[in-house]
Amino acid sequence: MIAPLAYGIVALTAVAALWGLLTAALDRAPGRAQLLFAAGVEVVVLVQSVIGFAGLASGFAPAERATTIGYLIGILVLIPAAWFWANTERTRFSGLVLAVAAFGVLAMTLRLLVLWVPA
């Protein structure tokens, strides 16, 4: 976990969530740029989880180790699941699906920042 990276993810997921709400409000299915953006956010989230696990492996001991590991894994699945779910039926609601996942990643990232303290 690197705090600036986490805040970057918070900003990126906020954009992805707002983008999803916007296309839903405009009654459009998510466009190509929007889907690529979501994929890009996922890559950054993956980098963060890898750094997190590297930290745990090299001796960092957070107060709530099991919970922290759960978040580092859980945070990875939301966007891919939403991507699949948003694309199997492409309507305005696809944008809401992406927004839900993005907001979930945002909330989980903030929680990870709180969890990432030594025991």
Partner: protein
Amino acid sequence: MSTSSGAGRALIAVYGLFALAATARAAVQVSTKFPEAPLAYLLSALAGVVYLVATFTLARDTPLARKTALVAITVELVGVLTVGTLSVVDPQAFPRATVWSAYGIGYGFVPLILPVLGLLWLRRSRPAVEAG
């Protein structure tokens, strides 16, 4: 109309998010600190199962899945109201440990709103042939 179509897809996404959050949380609680608050952690696990069942049955959308979803979401509503009330009346018994504590205050009260939306959605998406 199908439960897994249109607005239902957004609803299922929220259910999926809560299924993940509640199940993961319960798994950590039950496996690492179960004796601390067995009742709260068992309810945590129940919440996780209910969200999982609701997610998959809403997405599956067969007559049986629809009935199962109705049961799961009703349990969910009763659960959040019961645990919510108990956790406010007797905080000792529920040390802020389940998604349903204080009506889901730790999750922006979404756990309280979600079953209501779920039941409304089951009603609205009901097939036309199924009268009553």
